[in-house]
Symmetry: C2
Subunit: 145 residues, 2 copies
Protein backbone atom coordinates (compact mmCIF):
# COMPACT_ATOMS: atom_id res chain seq x y z
CA UNK A 1 0.00 0.00 0.00
CA UNK A 2 1.06 3.60 -0.66
CA UNK A 3 2.82 4.69 2.57
CA UNK A 4 0.69 7.83 2.87
CA UNK A 5 -2.56 5.92 2.45
CA UNK A 6 -1.17 3.50 5.05
CA UNK A 7 -0.62 6.46 7.41
CA UNK A 8 -4.22 7.59 6.83
CA UNK A 9 -5.42 4.04 7.56
CA UNK A 10 -3.33 4.03 10.75
CA UNK A 11 -5.13 7.25 11.78
CA UNK A 12 -8.50 5.61 11.03
CA UNK A 13 -7.61 2.69 13.28
CA UNK A 14 -6.48 5.07 16.03
CA UNK A 15 -9.89 6.70 15.82
CA UNK A 16 -11.63 3.33 16.06
CA UNK A 17 -9.55 2.39 19.11
CA UNK A 18 -10.74 5.63 20.76
CA UNK A 19 -14.37 4.63 20.17
CA UNK A 20 -14.63 7.00 17.22
CA UNK A 21 -15.52 6.92 13.55
CA UNK A 22 -12.71 5.10 11.69
CA UNK A 23 -11.73 7.57 8.99
CA UNK A 24 -8.18 8.89 8.72
CA UNK A 25 -6.36 11.42 6.60
CA UNK A 26 -2.95 12.91 5.97
CA UNK A 27 -1.89 16.05 4.11
CA UNK A 28 1.38 15.51 2.25
CA UNK A 29 3.64 18.30 0.98
CA UNK A 30 6.89 17.64 -0.89
CA UNK A 31 6.81 13.97 0.09
CA UNK A 32 6.39 14.64 3.81
CA UNK A 33 3.35 14.44 6.06
CA UNK A 34 2.48 18.05 6.97
CA UNK A 35 -0.61 17.14 9.00
CA UNK A 36 -2.39 13.97 10.06
CA UNK A 37 -5.76 13.42 11.65
CA UNK A 38 -8.87 11.37 12.16
CA UNK A 39 -12.56 11.97 12.70
CA UNK A 40 -13.21 13.55 16.14
CA UNK A 41 -17.02 13.51 16.36
CA UNK A 42 -17.12 11.13 19.31
CA UNK A 43 -13.84 12.08 20.97
CA UNK A 44 -14.34 15.88 20.95
CA UNK A 45 -18.06 16.17 20.24
CA UNK A 46 -17.01 17.85 17.01
CA UNK A 47 -19.33 18.54 14.09
CA UNK A 48 -16.56 19.84 11.85
CA UNK A 49 -13.50 17.68 12.55
CA UNK A 50 -13.91 15.01 9.93
CA UNK A 51 -10.61 13.25 9.26
CA UNK A 52 -9.61 15.53 6.38
CA UNK A 53 -10.48 18.66 8.37
CA UNK A 54 -8.47 17.36 11.34
CA UNK A 55 -5.44 16.75 9.09
CA UNK A 56 -5.76 20.25 7.58
CA UNK A 57 -6.14 21.76 11.06
CA UNK A 58 -3.13 19.89 12.40
CA UNK A 59 -1.05 21.07 9.42
CA UNK A 60 -1.62 24.60 10.74
CA UNK A 61 -1.75 27.86 8.84
CA UNK A 62 -0.22 27.39 5.39
CA UNK A 63 0.07 29.57 2.31
CA UNK A 64 -1.56 28.96 -1.05
CA UNK A 65 1.91 28.05 -2.37
CA UNK A 66 2.14 25.26 0.24
CA UNK A 67 -1.29 23.83 -0.60
CA UNK A 68 -0.47 24.03 -4.32
CA UNK A 69 2.20 21.35 -3.76
CA UNK A 70 0.03 19.15 -1.53
CA UNK A 71 -1.87 15.89 -1.80
CA UNK A 72 -4.69 15.08 0.59
CA UNK A 73 -5.08 11.38 1.44
CA UNK A 74 -8.25 10.04 2.99
CA UNK A 75 -9.38 6.51 3.73
CA UNK A 76 -12.88 7.44 2.49
CA UNK A 77 -14.29 9.57 -0.32
CA UNK A 78 -14.43 13.14 1.06
CA UNK A 79 -17.89 14.51 1.88
CA UNK A 80 -19.21 17.90 0.72
CA UNK A 81 -17.48 19.73 3.60
CA UNK A 82 -14.08 18.08 3.22
CA UNK A 83 -14.22 18.33 -0.58
CA UNK A 84 -15.03 22.02 -0.13
CA UNK A 85 -12.02 22.47 2.14
CA UNK A 86 -9.76 20.95 -0.53
CA UNK A 87 -11.30 23.31 -3.11
CA UNK A 88 -10.92 26.36 -0.85
CA UNK A 89 -7.22 25.79 -0.40
CA UNK A 90 -6.53 24.68 -3.95
CA UNK A 91 -5.30 21.18 -3.05
CA UNK A 92 -4.58 19.83 -6.54
CA UNK A 93 -4.71 16.09 -5.81
CA UNK A 94 -6.80 13.89 -3.52
CA UNK A 95 -6.11 10.18 -3.00
CA UNK A 96 -9.10 8.23 -1.71
CA UNK A 97 -8.88 4.82 -0.02
CA UNK A 98 -12.36 3.79 -1.10
CA UNK A 99 -15.72 5.14 -2.27
CA UNK A 100 -17.85 1.98 -1.94
CA UNK A 101 -19.35 2.72 1.49
CA UNK A 102 -19.78 6.47 0.88
CA UNK A 103 -19.26 8.75 -2.09
CA UNK A 104 -18.77 12.50 -1.85
CA UNK A 105 -19.25 14.99 -4.71
CA UNK A 106 -16.47 13.44 -6.82
CA UNK A 107 -17.71 14.68 -10.22
CA UNK A 108 -17.99 18.23 -8.92
CA UNK A 109 -14.52 18.10 -7.37
CA UNK A 110 -13.07 16.85 -10.68
CA UNK A 111 -14.98 19.57 -12.57
CA UNK A 112 -13.15 22.13 -10.42
CA UNK A 113 -9.81 20.79 -11.63
CA UNK A 114 -8.81 18.48 -8.78
CA UNK A 115 -7.15 15.16 -9.63
CA UNK A 116 -9.04 12.49 -7.69
CA UNK A 117 -7.54 9.02 -7.43
CA UNK A 118 -9.69 6.19 -6.07
CA UNK A 119 -7.47 3.38 -4.75
CA UNK A 120 -10.33 0.99 -3.86
CA UNK A 121 -8.36 -0.54 -1.02
CA UNK A 122 -10.00 -3.63 0.55
CA UNK A 123 -8.78 -2.80 4.09
CA UNK A 124 -10.36 0.66 3.92
CA UNK A 125 -13.63 -0.87 2.65
CA UNK A 126 -13.71 -3.56 5.33
CA UNK A 127 -13.03 -1.09 8.16
CA UNK A 128 -15.96 1.12 7.14
CA UNK A 129 -18.32 -1.80 6.34
CA UNK A 130 -17.88 -3.22 9.81
CA UNK A 131 -18.24 0.19 11.49
CA UNK A 132 -21.40 1.11 9.56
CA UNK A 133 -22.96 -2.27 10.37
CA UNK A 134 -22.14 -1.83 14.07
CA UNK A 135 -23.03 1.85 14.53
CA UNK A 136 -25.39 2.96 11.75
CA UNK A 137 -26.86 5.89 13.74
CA UNK A 138 -23.47 7.39 14.53
CA UNK A 139 -22.46 7.02 10.91
CA UNK A 140 -25.65 8.68 9.66
CA UNK A 141 -25.13 11.57 12.06
CA UNK A 142 -21.63 12.07 10.68
CA UNK A 143 -22.77 12.31 7.08
CA UNK A 144 -25.87 14.37 7.82
CA UNK A 145 -28.47 11.69 7.09
Amino acid sequence: MDPFLAAALEEARLGLAEGGIPIGSVLVIDGQIAGRGHNRRVQQGSAVLHAEMDALENAGRLTAADYARSTLYSTLSPCDMCSGAALLYGVPRVVVGENRTFQGPEDYVRSRGVELEIVDDPECVELMRRFIAEKPELWNEDIGV
Copy 2:
Protein backbone atom coordinates in the same frame (compact mmCIF):
# COMPACT_ATOMS: atom_id res chain seq x y z
CA MET B 1 -31.42 44.69 10.43
CA ASP B 2 -32.55 41.08 10.86
CA PRO B 3 -31.68 40.25 14.50
CA PHE B 4 -29.82 37.07 13.49
CA LEU B 5 -27.71 38.88 10.90
CA ALA B 6 -27.08 41.48 13.60
CA ALA B 7 -25.85 38.69 15.91
CA ALA B 8 -23.53 37.44 13.14
CA LEU B 9 -22.22 41.00 12.67
CA GLU B 10 -21.66 41.28 16.41
CA GLU B 11 -19.57 38.07 16.19
CA ALA B 12 -17.60 39.57 13.28
CA ARG B 13 -16.81 42.65 15.37
CA LEU B 14 -15.77 40.49 18.32
CA GLY B 15 -13.33 38.76 15.99
CA LEU B 16 -11.95 42.09 14.78
CA ALA B 17 -11.48 43.26 18.37
CA GLU B 18 -9.42 40.11 19.00
CA GLY B 19 -7.16 40.98 16.07
CA GLY B 20 -8.85 38.42 13.89
CA ILE B 21 -10.64 38.25 10.56
CA PRO B 22 -14.03 40.02 10.94
CA ILE B 23 -16.50 37.41 9.74
CA GLY B 24 -19.29 36.17 11.99
CA SER B 25 -22.00 33.55 11.79
CA VAL B 26 -24.93 32.10 13.70
CA LEU B 27 -26.87 28.88 13.23
CA VAL B 28 -30.56 29.38 13.98
CA ILE B 29 -33.01 26.58 14.74
CA ASP B 30 -36.68 27.21 15.48
CA GLY B 31 -36.08 30.92 15.91
CA GLN B 32 -33.26 30.49 18.43
CA ILE B 33 -29.50 30.75 18.07
CA ALA B 34 -28.18 27.19 18.38
CA GLY B 35 -24.55 28.16 17.79
CA ARG B 36 -22.59 31.33 17.16
CA GLY B 37 -19.03 31.90 16.07
CA HIS B 38 -16.43 33.91 14.24
CA ASN B 39 -13.30 33.26 12.23
CA ARG B 40 -10.50 31.87 14.43
CA ARG B 41 -7.50 31.83 12.05
CA VAL B 42 -5.52 34.37 14.02
CA GLN B 43 -6.83 33.61 17.50
CA GLN B 44 -6.39 29.81 17.39
CA GLY B 45 -4.08 29.39 14.40
CA SER B 46 -6.97 27.54 12.82
CA ALA B 47 -7.17 26.60 9.15
CA VAL B 48 -10.71 25.23 9.41
CA LEU B 49 -12.57 27.50 11.84
CA HIS B 50 -14.07 29.99 9.45
CA ALA B 51 -17.02 31.79 11.04
CA GLU B 52 -19.64 29.36 9.73
CA MET B 53 -17.59 26.35 10.83
CA ASP B 54 -17.13 27.86 14.28
CA ALA B 55 -20.90 28.41 14.58
CA LEU B 56 -21.59 24.83 13.47
CA GLU B 57 -18.94 23.54 15.89
CA ASN B 58 -20.33 25.56 18.78
CA ALA B 59 -23.84 24.23 18.04
CA GLY B 60 -22.44 20.79 18.87
CA ARG B 61 -23.54 17.41 17.58
CA LEU B 62 -26.99 17.69 16.01
CA THR B 63 -29.21 15.33 14.05
CA ALA B 64 -30.25 15.68 10.42
CA ALA B 65 -33.73 16.60 11.72
CA ASP B 66 -32.23 19.55 13.62
CA TYR B 67 -30.28 20.82 10.62
CA ALA B 68 -33.36 20.42 8.42
CA ARG B 69 -35.03 23.21 10.45
CA SER B 70 -31.99 25.48 10.51
CA THR B 71 -30.84 28.67 8.84
CA LEU B 72 -27.16 29.57 8.67
CA TYR B 73 -26.39 33.29 8.81
CA SER B 74 -23.02 34.65 7.77
CA THR B 75 -21.79 38.20 7.34
CA LEU B 76 -19.98 37.10 4.15
CA SER B 77 -20.76 34.77 1.25
CA PRO B 78 -19.64 31.28 2.42
CA CYS B 79 -16.49 29.89 0.79
CA ASP B 80 -16.20 26.39 -0.73
CA MET B 81 -15.52 24.80 2.66
CA CYS B 82 -18.35 26.49 4.55
CA SER B 83 -20.78 26.00 1.66
CA GLY B 84 -19.80 22.34 1.67
CA ALA B 85 -20.50 22.10 5.40
CA ALA B 86 -24.00 23.50 4.82
CA LEU B 87 -24.53 20.95 2.03
CA LEU B 88 -23.22 18.06 4.15
CA TYR B 89 -25.69 18.75 6.92
CA GLY B 90 -28.60 19.65 4.68
CA VAL B 91 -29.00 23.22 5.95
CA PRO B 92 -31.90 24.37 3.76
CA ARG B 93 -31.39 28.14 3.96
CA VAL B 94 -28.37 30.43 4.14
CA VAL B 95 -28.63 34.18 4.76
CA VAL B 96 -25.58 36.14 3.61
CA GLY B 97 -24.70 39.65 4.78
CA GLU B 98 -22.85 40.53 1.59
CA ASN B 99 -21.10 39.04 -1.43
CA ARG B 100 -19.37 42.14 -2.82
CA THR B 101 -15.96 41.57 -1.22
CA PHE B 102 -15.95 37.79 -1.72
CA GLN B 103 -18.26 35.35 -3.43
CA GLY B 104 -18.38 31.63 -2.68
CA PRO B 105 -19.87 28.96 -4.97
CA GLU B 106 -23.38 30.43 -4.80
CA ASP B 107 -24.70 28.95 -8.05
CA TYR B 108 -23.55 25.48 -7.05
CA VAL B 109 -25.09 25.79 -3.59
CA ARG B 110 -28.39 26.87 -5.17
CA SER B 111 -28.18 24.00 -7.68
CA ARG B 112 -28.04 21.63 -4.69
CA GLY B 113 -31.36 22.97 -3.44
CA VAL B 114 -30.27 25.47 -0.81
CA GLU B 115 -32.15 28.77 -0.54
CA LEU B 116 -29.52 31.51 -0.53
CA GLU B 117 -30.54 35.02 0.44
CA ILE B 118 -28.09 37.88 -0.15
CA VAL B 119 -28.92 40.83 2.12
CA ASP B 120 -26.25 43.19 0.72
CA ASP B 121 -25.87 44.95 4.04
CA PRO B 122 -23.67 48.09 3.91
CA GLU B 123 -22.21 47.52 7.41
CA CYS B 124 -21.06 44.02 6.45
CA VAL B 125 -19.52 45.38 3.23
CA GLU B 126 -17.72 48.23 5.00
CA LEU B 127 -16.29 45.97 7.71
CA MET B 128 -14.73 43.63 5.13
CA ARG B 129 -13.58 46.42 2.77
CA ARG B 130 -11.62 48.07 5.55
CA PHE B 131 -10.16 44.78 6.78
CA ILE B 132 -9.07 43.64 3.30
CA ALA B 133 -7.44 47.03 2.64
CA GLU B 134 -5.58 46.85 5.96
CA LYS B 135 -4.51 43.18 5.95
CA PRO B 136 -4.59 41.84 2.38
CA GLU B 137 -2.10 39.02 3.06
CA LEU B 138 -4.07 37.65 6.00
CA TRP B 139 -7.25 37.82 3.97
CA ASN B 140 -5.66 36.01 1.01
CA GLU B 141 -4.38 33.28 3.33
CA ASP B 142 -7.89 32.78 4.67
CA ILE B 143 -9.43 32.30 1.24
CA GLY B 144 -6.59 30.22 -0.15
CA VAL B 145 -5.19 32.77 -2.60
